[in-house]
């Protein structure tokens, strides 16, 4: 990573992005209890360092393919918080007119190719985004996020093989939070060393502490630079932990309380704040200012969603085809 990227501004921005995600999701949980957000809600709390760190490495021209646990990815990518919140409410003003809700955020202006409630569903199509760039000679990168759970699906393996075979400009970001719903990784994968798996496809891979925003930012920048330079795909395993249950329905009976507590000690936010304070980049007043800006953005997003309207029934059939038959 280039040293100028280590600038104080960059470190402060990592904090700002993580806070935006954390506060947004805390609010989302509250709004879910108030039945303003319905259906399924998967919180990213605990994993914010990854979205914040990785997204920095991308330019506006790069593409992002995400999962159903994607509020953090969308926010860090620059999808408007208000449009995300309105989508989660199911409002017409949402980024997809309220048709998809929490798990289906899209924004063409950010080359954000969606959340996806089908685990591993985004992997193979990320190949196509990358191949199109390669064929056109564009130095763009496609970044594809997925969880450890996706690694057991066939789509993952087809993607790994084709990405290397065709030397595609693809950055694969596996957020290994050790569980796929109730299934611990050791009960799901014959080889739990995900980097070894990647290497078996001859894909360069690195394991990064996903609770450390700076480490994620550095590794993502390096990997993205290599991908952009035409060196082929890169795989990053980002070790992390979700602090909340899988979804709002999950009683979370399969994880040890002590294990959760242990991981919470590694919360990426206090950790990053501690580092910045130590380096003299941050004091209480500055944190306060960031928190206030984040709170303002969030309040506006909630007000926007509250004021939103439902898509009229007549437009239910819009966008099924280019022209409604």
């Amino acid at each position: 990573m280039k040293t100028e990227e280590h600038s104080p501004e960059m470190k402060i921005d990592l904090l700002r992005q993580m806070l935006r995600i954390r506060r947004f999701e805390e609010k989302a949980a509250e709004l879910y209890s108030a039945a303003k957000i319905r259906g399924f809600l998967h919180l990213y709390i605990g994993q914010e360092a990854i979205a914040a760190g990785a997204m920095r490495a991308l330019t506006a021209e790069d593409a992002v393919v995400s999962t159903y646990r994607e509020h953090g990815h969308a926010l860090a990518r620059g999808v408007a918080a208000a449009a995300i919140m309105a989508e989660m409410y199911g409002k017409a003003e949402g980024c997809c007119h309220g048709r998809g809700g929490s798990m289906h955020l899209f924004d063409v202006s950010k080359r954000f190719y969606g959340g996806n409630a089908i685990v591993a569903g985004g992997l193979p199509l990320a190949l196509g985004l990358a191949l199109a760039d390669k064929l056109a000679g564009r130095a763009r990168v496609t970044a594809c996020f997925f969880g450890d759970g996706a690694v057991a699906e066939g789509e993952f393996h087809e993607t790994m093989n084709l990405a290397v075979l065709w030397k595609l400009p693809l950055l694969l970001l596996c957020e290994n939070n050790l569980y796929a719903m109730g299934t611990a990784i050791a009960r799901a994968l014959s080889e739990t060393d995900l980097c070894k798996k990647a290497e078996s496809y001859r894909m360069p891979a690195e394991r990064i502490d996903g609770m450390d925003a700076l480490a994620v930012a550095v590794a993502s920048a390096d990997a993205t630079a290599a991908v952009r330079a035409g060196e082929g795909p890169r795989f990053l395993e980002l070790t992390t932990y979700r602090f909340r249950p899988h979804s709002m329905f999950d009683p979370d009976l399969y994880r040890d309380k002590a294990e959760i507590a242990e991981w919470k000690k590694r919360d990426p936010l206090p950790r990053h704040i501690g580092r910045l304070k130590e380096e003299g980049l941050l004091d209480a007043a500055k944190i306060d200012a960031i928190e206030r800006a984040v709170a303002d953005e969030l309040a506006q997003a909630v007000a926007f969603a509250d004021a939103g309207t439902l898509e009229p029934v007549e437009s239910l059939t819009r966008d099924v085809y280019a022209r409604t038959p």
């Binding site: 319905r38 409002k91 309220g98 048709r99 089908i118 057991a152 699906e153 109730g182 299934t183």
Partner: protein
């Protein structure tokens, strides 16, 4: 009179159950009786299934008969097929019907055709249990009703209970026959539908529809979660002096055409209600069958009330799902034809 004084057969012991409990009970009964039966799927073991339908099976039957799998639908169904053609009786769970598509190839090209391809040498007695349907704000991928794909595939049976009683009886019957069965469970009604269910063993035969309400003006045909909506609707019709006969198909394929035709020939009118999109939905096939067989007994063309030809929406879900007002309009169309 002699017959009346005769002692009724001892009432089977019953218990109030919801559909989850009924499914769970059926699995336990058959797993105790038949060592070839096992369940497998994502989180079905230790965790007891995401909807808790397999709760307690791991504890009672151990990890070899309540097999936890990773996220690997193709792998789950493929493995189940292998065990089925080798004499076991696997009951695979796909967490939501929307996730069945990664396994579509194994189901359509392998499970459905194994018996036929092998000239009858290899039956494939596999069951795939999967919750389907909307009404829980699940959006695109937690709401679909994909029964028609499987009905369209010769070799597969498709079952869809509406009530706890039928869920248990149909699942027990399904586990005791020799063809692959896709067993769609109405997730919206999993806990909402409660009923008296015999505590012991019984079967509800496959391929038999049930007349759940007798009527004379119009036949309403439904299954699964929609049967509940349709049954309530029939009550409101009665208040308006319209006498609706309600059929719960229970097994979608092979369909019980005899019961359908008997009813439609009596009422002369039929309205089919399903959640899946309209085009090539099962309603289309039912409508064709009725018109082919009972044309001259019909007072009006068969009507369909269905989901729309769109992906399943999140916020407009209740407009998407067949509503009482749409059902009423369809009934009126048949009555005023």
């Amino acid at each position: 009179m002699q017959a009346v004084q005769q002692k009724a057969p001892p009432m089977a012991q019953t218990q109030t159950m919801n559909i989850i409990q009924a499914v769970n009970d059926a699995l336990k009964i058959q797993m105790r009786k038949d060592p070839r039966v096992l369940v497998m799927g994502e989180d079905v073991g230790k965790f007891g299934g995401v909807f808790r339908a397999t709760q307690g099976l791991y504890q009672e039957f151990g990890p070899n008969r309540a097999i936890d799998t990773p996220l690997s639908e193709g792998g789950i169904i493929g493995t189940a097929i292998g065990m089925a053609i080798y004499g076991l009786r696997p009951v695979a769970e796909i967490q939501f019907a929307d996730y069945i598509f990664p396994a579509f190839d194994q189901l359509v090209n392998e499970a459905a055709k194994y018996r036929y391809r092998s000239g009858g040498q290899y039956p494939c007695p596999l069951i795939v249990r999967t919750p389907y349907g909307g009404g829980i704000r699940g959006g695109h991928y937690h709401s679909q009703s994909p029964e028609a794909y499987f009905i369209h595939t010769p070799g597969l049976k498709v079952v869809c209970p509406a009530t706890p009683y039928d869920a248990k009886g149909l699942l027990l019957a399904a586990m005791r026959q020799d063809d692959p069965v896709i067993f769609f469970e109405p997730k919206r009604m999993y806990r909402a539908a409660k009923g008296e269910v015999p505590t012991g063993d019984y079967e509800v035969p496959l391929e038999q529809a049930k007349v759940t309400r007798e009527g004379k003006h119009v036949t309403l045909i439904a299954w699964g979660a929609m049967w509940h909506t349709v049954s309530e609707f029939a009550e409101t019709l009665a208040k308006d002096g319209i006498s609706a006969e309600v059929l719960d198909l229970r097994t979608l394929w092979p369909v019980d055409l005899t019961t359908i035709l008997k009813s439609v020939e009596k009422t002369g009118r039929a309205v089919i209600v399903h959640e899946a999109p309209r085009t090539c939905g099962f309603g289309a096939e039912l409508s064709a069958l009725i018109h082919e067989r009972a044309m001259l007994k019909l007072e009006a063309p068969v009507q369909r009330v269905t989901g729309f030809d769109t992906p399943f929406p999140y916020s407009l879900e209740h407009d998407y799902m067949p509503s009482v007002s749409r059902m009423r309009a369809a009934v009126d169309r048949t009555l005023n034809y």
